[in-house]
Structure formats: C-alpha cells, structure tokens
C-alpha cells in the first residue's frame, strides 16, 4: 500500500501498552463483564494505534489479543476489517477526505485536489518524510457540513480548495488549526442563515 518513510512509526518486535494507556484500559474494561473482555477489542486497538504512531504492527495486534485472552486471528480479522485501523506503516498524521455522494456534490474533488497539491502524494500514499498519510473515506457522518476532511481527531468542515489548503499548510507548519466549519457558520446551522425559529427571543 505504502512505502516506509523515515518518519513513520517503525515495525517492532514487541509491543506493550504505556502506563498511561493501561490506566485508560482499566476504565474501558470496567464497562464489560469479566468474561466478555473481548468486547474491548476496538477501543484497545485504537489506543494501540495511537500509541504506535498511526498503525498497528503485528506485535501490537498480538499484544491486544493476549491482553484480552482472545485468539490472535480474531484480532487480525477485526483490525483488517475496519478501515480506521492501519496494518501497514503509514504517515503519522492521517488525512482522510470524505468522497461519498453528499461531500462529492459539495465539492470534495476540490478538497482532494488541494490535498494532493499540498502534500504532494496520491490517495493511499504517505509523504516521504512519514508525516502525512492521505486517504479517501466513506461518509463521515457530517454531511450537513459537507465537504469534510478528517485529520486525526479533528473534523474540518465546509471546505473548498482554498480553505483546505490553509488547513493543511497550517498542519504542515506544525500548528493546530481550529477544527469545525471553516466557513464561519456555527455548527451545522443552515448555511444561508436561519429559516425557522425566526421570531425574536424575548
């Protein structure tokens, strides 16, 4: 899928959760009955991926399986089934462009063009320095603010070519641009101003 860049998290022989994550995991496991520990596989995989810089080496999958006492193959199945888990080395910052119909109608092609230009890579590739990983994604569930770009834990919405470029360039400089609609509207209020509840609030 992608080549190993220098900046990417490396392949490793062994993996173990950090103290901090173990603390979080205690909380996660408390949600499930003792004999249903395997239910925690998704949150644990997310933590492992985050801890390892954006992708899951086999050692991490094995660790999660052994940690939860489930067959390793079942963790491989889960990790490969879900798109949000990467099982091969990719860039640390994950840039995902929604290209499903609503976003596409609202101009996701332009968003994608901006991404390609700023990052200099094609969809499915990571930048040579290993910092960014560009992907297409199916509906991110924020169609009211289409088109949408999802970077790590943040949604950037109401994008066009220029706004996308601005966001990515800020990211490239190491800044953390303000997530949410980039058009200035609040949340997902109607784009052209209110159409209901027009009376004055007393």
């Amino acid at each position: 899928m992608s080549t190993t860049g220098e900046g990417m998290a490396p392949e490793v022989e062994s993996f173990a959760f950090s103290e901090e994550n173990l603390e979080k995991i205690r909380g996660i496991l408390a949600r499930y009955p003792e004999d249903r520990r395997a239910s925690a596989v998704l949150p644990l995989l997310h933590l492992a991926q985050e801890q390892h810089g954006g992708w899951l080496p086999r050692a991490a999958l094995d660790h999660v399986a052994d940690f939860l006492g489930m067959p390793r193959i079942q963790v491989y199945e889960v990790a490969t089934f879900y798109d949000m888990f990467n099982t091969e080395p990719v860039g640390r910052i994950q840039v995902r462009v929604c290209t499903t119909t609503p976003c596409w109608l609202c101009g996701s092609d332009e968003v994608l063009r901006a991404c390609r230009e700023v990052l200099g890579v094609e969809v499915g590739e990571s930048t040579p320095d290993g910092r960014f990983y560009l992907r297409e994604f199916e509906c991110l569930g924020a169609c009211a603010n289409a088109p949408v770009l999802w970077v790590d834990d943040d949604y950037f919405e109401d994008l066009d070519y220029a706004r996308t470029k601005a966001v990515l360039e800020a990211l490239k400089r190491g800044e953390r641009p303000r997530p949410g609609p980039q058009s200035g509207r609040r949340g997902s209020m109607p784009a052209g101003g209110k159409t209901t509840l027009l009376f004055e609030e007393k």
Binding site: S14, R58, D62, D66, P71, R72, I73, Q74, Y76, E77, T80, F81
Partner: protein
C-alpha cells in the same frame, strides 16, 4: 415436531431441524457449499435457496428453522433461477482452472456447475486474484479458488479447537488466511482439505500427483494410534497416493488425524524388502530359503525358555495368533505384547479397554484424566472430549503434565500422590466426582507404563468403585492405548505364560545370558542396545531402530499391504484390507510365521486367513464380532504397592514421529520440525 409440506409431500421432522435437514429427510437433495452437518451454520454461500410459500423471496434453507405448516418447494422454476443466479455470482471470481486443479473430479463447485452453471460468462471485468497463503507442510492453498464458505475456519475453531484461520479484510477483499504465514498448529488440520468444497485447500504432499479417477480405493483401518479410524486408501499402481477418512460415527466421525492422513509416504522409505542375515558383522541380503536356514540353525535346537517374543505397536491380530501358537509349540513362555512396559495384567478385559467407548464420552459429565495427553495419544478421542465440552456441563480435571488440550482442564496434581488422595476421598475434587452422574476416568500410558503401574491401576480401580464410575449401562473406567496392536495382543493373551518373563525380564535375561534369542515382531520402541547378547530376529517393515541390531531380518507387510484385523482401544475389531502389495520379497506377517513354524518342524496348522480367524475366534470370541464393541465384565485388577513420587509423563514426546512408518515419512519429519519446534520455542517466548 413440526409438520411441513415439501414438494407436495407432508413430512414431520424433529423439533430444531432446519428446512435444509427437513428436505434431506424428505429425500430431496439441496445443493450447498457452506453448510456442514458437523459445523455451526454460517449461511453465507446462498446455494441452498428454496422457495417457501408466503415468503417474499427464496430462503437459505440451511439457516431457516423448520416450522409448522411451511410449504416448501425445492424444484420450482424460481428455485432453479435463484440457484443459477447464486452460482453465476460464485463463478464470477472463480478461476476456470479445473484442468490443473487437484479438486477436479471431486469438486462440489464443478458438480453443481454441471447442473446450474451458465454456459458462458457474462462477466467482462477482470476476475479478482488472491495471493496464496502459507499454512505449513500439509495444506496447500490456491486462494483465488476460495468461495468463502468459511468451513475451514469453522472446523479449526469449533472441532479442532485451534482457531488459527480467519477471514481478514472485507467485502471484495475478503481473504481466508492465518495472517502470519506460518504452519497451522492443529493435528487435525488435514480435514480442512476434505471440507473445502473447491480446490482452494489441497493436500500438499498429494498435490499434482494423481487424478481421482486413476485411483483404486480400498476401505481400510488406520494404525497410527489405537483409535482405529476408518480410512480409505487411494492407490495408483502399487503406490499409496493418499489416505482419506471414512465415516464411522462411533469412532472417528468423519475426521482423521494428520498422522493418519499424511504418514503414508513413510511406506516408501527405509523399507525392508528382502530378507537379510548378518555375516561377518554386516547385514547382507539373502533369499527366504537362506533366511529360514539361519532361523532353523539358531532356533531349531534351542529350548523354549531360552528364547523370547516381543511384539510391537503395529502388529495385526492374525500375526499375533500365529505368534501365540508358535510360542506354545516351541515351549516358549517369554512373550510380551507390551513393548512400552505397561503394567497391565490382562486377565480382565475391563482393565485395559476404553470401556466408556469413544461415542460414550458424549454421555459423560465429568472426566478425570490421569497421566494422559489425549491430544497427542489419540487425537480423535480428544476431539470427542472437546465435542462433549462444547455441549456444556462437562468438567475435566487432570493429574499429569499440563498441556493445552483445546478445552479447559483443571490441573489438580502431577503424580500418583494426588491419585491416591482422590482414591482415599481426601482431595477436594472428590466432591465433584461423587456428584457427577456419569463420571469417567481416563488412564493414559504415562500412568501405567512405569514401575508402580500396577499400584496406579489399583488406585484407578478403587476410584472407579468408590465414586460410581460403574453404573447401569455405564462404565467410566478407561485405559487409553496408543498402539493399534495392543488390545488385540491383550485379548489374545500375548503375555508372559507360566514362569514367563515380561519385557523387562527378557532384557535382563539377555544381559544375564539366560535368553539367547529374541524375536522382535515390529518392536522398535524398546532399548535395542540391551539386546546385544542375543541372536535377534527382526520381523517388520522398516529399517528403523531394531533392524540395525538384528541378526536376521524378515521383511513383513505394512498395514496397507495386508488383510488384517485391528482391534481399537474400545475393543472393537475391524478389518483392514490390502490396498497395495508388499514391496519386493516382503510377505504378510502371519504367513512368514506360518512358514517359519513349518521350517522349525512345529507346524501351526493354519493354512489360510479364514483358518487363522477361526482360531482367533476360539481364543477370543469377541474378536469375531467385527465392528462391534463387546462390553467387558468388571472385576478386580491392579495390585496394591509402593507408589513413587515421579510425576506422570506421556510417552509421546513428538506427535508426528511415534512409529517406524511415521519416522520414515518425510512429511512427518517436516511437521515435527515446522509445527512442533516453533510451539516449543513459543512456550518460552511470547505465548501465554
């Protein structure tokens, strides 16, 4: 008991049946790929569609419970159209490589395509291609052919209890894989080759070797362990090409172990195919005439008490009848069929049988394993235990070395001390044992083949009587054998006679110069170096451990090369049949013994196999009741005595290399190296 109408006929089926099963009961054949009666229902291939009235669309019958008043059509135009559609979709990504596919001629997809397949393809895109996976030395993969029925995954997860295959990725990209490109770790993995309805999983050793229609199929019995699995030996010319399971619900269901399936290449290597005599320190080829002359020279004048017979693990019952008759005529009391040194007395059948029977395991609710590793000693007994565990309400405790048996086991101790505590009612497990309605105990070879074996047997006897292992129609006491020959040997009384020595005594006798000649009938698992002082006759099939120290080698026939009776650990006699002829000058063993008796002037007057079997029936009437288990009468056995502290150890250190045939097999050696060694390494590393 719901009543349904299937193709116009009313039928009543047991509650819990699916529509598929109801149709089968009604004699309708429903095409299917993913459904398998011994696996959980997956319902993912859609080939089993039928029409059910009042249902808006065709229904996957394998996943639909049969309900009162259903009106089912299995042969309507709608059904045919639906099946055609499903098949066309399955074929979209299936390669058209039947001419080079090993499954060709025995492929479900090929067969069904004949009935429902389109005559041409409407699919103009590229077919999808999937990279082959590495699953070890036994299972070859051609994953582009896979139709994702998931039978292989379900088998390994459910029946074998070694969940190592899965479906990774998804949708169009779904791949059946173990993800790690390493050998599978199940000793039942070969069964997924049979289960795979297409040619995605093939036998690696058999790959591209033969076509099904060239093979001569012979129904026979396996001898790799004492289970007596029913097998089919497929041969081309005089070569065994492969071995497959045959259905026997009470023994192996439809599975066989990998040793049973894949050790056959050992039949080709290291074979003894001419008689040999030792001349000037070297074994040289000889004719049968010369061999018998040497035999008569050495044995003719020797008093019976100065010679001995030891029988190995793969000896057929007919040969043992001959050994018994011959030893009697020679006045030789030193006969032993227990080459592992088991302290079985053999007076009472109940002592040495698996009395619960293999199928009977399914009725048990508690099992105490003593000195046994059933997973390696009898994989199909272990599969039954696992099957019972999966039904629920089954507790298994073990005294012996820990080993992953694929189901939960409580380890309560490692040696005879714990067994004694249980027998005396002083162990906490006794409560569960006493409460169980149908408790069973399995005594393994590791518990009886030791100095205090008789005392261990006595303890097992005490436990059986004390904790209700013997009830109305229930006998929970079991001895688990690993040798296909053992039960027949014990039934036929191939044990030391009046003043006779057991194996240990024979070895001592040789060292003391009291025994001058030892006839080994396929006995390779003994300390052969201690035989140096005697004239050793080795009659058997392979140049394994004993033949190199022999002074006279008589080449015998392997299990695929003779008509023979085998008695499994339950005491079930079954007939194996000749599939190919013995190589070179090798002969059926009972015939060699018959000829030897004549040369020695002590003719055993049994001239054909029927006469041998008639004599067998006189010696042990139960052996004439082919394929039936004659329940054994209970009585006293074992001998109280000093117990040692040594923990119980299973005699099998390597599942794949337990007998001369397996040791000669390249495939088995490869398995041992690739499947077992990494396991042992892993035990110290990341696993567990």
């Amino acid at each position: 008991m719901p009543k349904l109408v299937i193709d116009g006929e009313e039928i009543e089926v047991p509650a819990g049946y699916t529509v598929f099963q109801a149709c089968e009961l009604a004699g309708k054949e429903i095409p299917h790929f993913c459904y398998h009666p011994r696996l959980n229902i997956a319902g993912n291939c859609r080939m089993c569609l039928v029409e059910i009235e009042k249902s808006p669309k065709p229904v996957a019958s394998c996943a639909m419970p049969a309900a009162e008043g259903m009106v089912v059509h299995t042969d309507s135009p709608l059904v045919h159209k639906a099946r055609k559609g499903v098949l066309e979709f399955l074929l979209i990504n299936h390669p058209l490589d039947c001419p080079i596919c090993d499954q060709g001629g025995e492929c479900d997809l090929q067969d069904l395509t004949l009935f429902y397949g389109p005559d041409h393809s409407r699919f103009e895109e590229n077919k999808r291609a999937v990279a082959d996976k590495y699953l070890g030395p036994l299972v070859a993969t051609h994953m582009t052919r896979c139709i994702h029925c998931t039978r292989c995954i379900r088998f390994l997860t459910e029946v074998a209890g070694v969940p190592e295959l899965g479906g990774c990725w998804r949708g169009e990209h779904l791949e059946i894989t173990n993800y790690i490109e390493r050998a599978l770790h199940s000793e039942l993995q070969g069964n997924i080759i049979d289960l795979c309805p297409v040619g995605a999983l093939n036998s690696k050793p058999y790959q591209y070797r033969a076509r099904i229609w060239e093979l001569k199929k012979t129904e026979s019995i396996d001898v790799m362990d004492a289970v007596g699995s029913n097998i089919r030996v497929d041969a081309r010319g005089n070569e065994v090409m492969r071995i497959l399971p045959r259905l026997h619900e009470e023994v192996n269901e439809e599975w066989i172990s990998d040793k049973t399936r894949f050790a056959y290449d050992g039949l080709k290597y290291r074979r003894l195919d001419v008689p040999m005599v030792r001349r000037d320190g070297r074994l040289v080829e000889a004719s049968w005439r010369e061999a018998f002359r040497t035999l008569v020279d050495r044995m003719g004048e020797l008093p019976g008490e100065r010679m001995a017979f030891v029988l190995g693990d793969l000896v057929d019952a007919e040969s043992m009848v001959l050994v018994r008759e011959l030893a009697e005529r020679l006045g030789c009391p030193h006969v032993d069929c227990r080459q592992d040194g088991a302290k079985i007395e053999g007076r009472l059948r109940a002592e040495y049988l698996f009395n619960t029977t293999i199928a009977g395991i399914e009725q048990a609710d508690f099992c105490l394993l003593v000195g046994t590793n059933p997973r390696w000693e009898a994989p199909l007994v272990n599969a039954r235990l696992r099957k019972r565990w999966r039904m629920g309400g089954f507790r298994v405790a073990r005294i012996g070395a820990p080993f992953d048996l694929t189901y939960p086991v409580e380890d309560i101790g490692e040696g005879p001390e714990t067994l004694k505590a249980v027998a005396e009612g002083e162990h906490e497990i006794c409560e569960a044992l006493a409460k169980a309605e149908r408790p069973m105990l399995v005594l393994g070879p590791g518990a009886v083949a030791r100095a205090d074996g008789a005392a261990v047997l006595a303890l097992a006897h005490r436990i059986s009587e004390r904790f209700g292992l013997l009830g109305e129609g229930w006998n929970g006491y079991n001895l688990l054998h690993t040798a296909a020959a053992r039960v027949a040997g014990l039934d036929l009384g191939l044990l030391p006679g009046e003043g006779g020595r057991d194996l240990a005594g024979i070895l001592k006798g040789v060292e003391a110069g009291e025994i001058e000649l030892v006839w080994l009938l396929g006995a390779d698992e003994i300390e052969v170096s201690r035989l140096a002082g005697a004239f050793v006759i080795y009659q058997g099939t392979h140049g394994d451990r004993a033949a190199p120290v022999a002074d006279l080698v008589l080449p015998g026939a392997a299990y695929t090369e003779k008509n023979a009776t085998w008695v499994n650990l339950e005491g079930r006699p079954q007939h194996g049949r000749l599939a190919v002829f013995p190589p070179g000058e090798a002969r059926e063993d009972w015939k060699i013994l018959r000829a030897a008796s004549e040369a020695l002037g002590r003719t055993v007057p049994l001239d054909n196999i029927f006469a041998v079997r008639a004599r067998m029936a006189e010696l042990a009437p139960q052996l004439a009741r082919i394929d039936s288990v004659t329940p054994a009468e209970w009585g006293g056995f074992g001998r109280r005595g000093r117990l040692t502290e040594a923990p119980f150890v299973s005699p099998i250190a390597d599942f794949y290399l337990t007998n001369p045939i397996a040791r000669a097999s390249k495939v088995m050696r490869q398995c041992s190296a690739e499947i077992l060694r990494p396991v042992n390494e892993k035990a110290t590393g990341t696993h567990g």
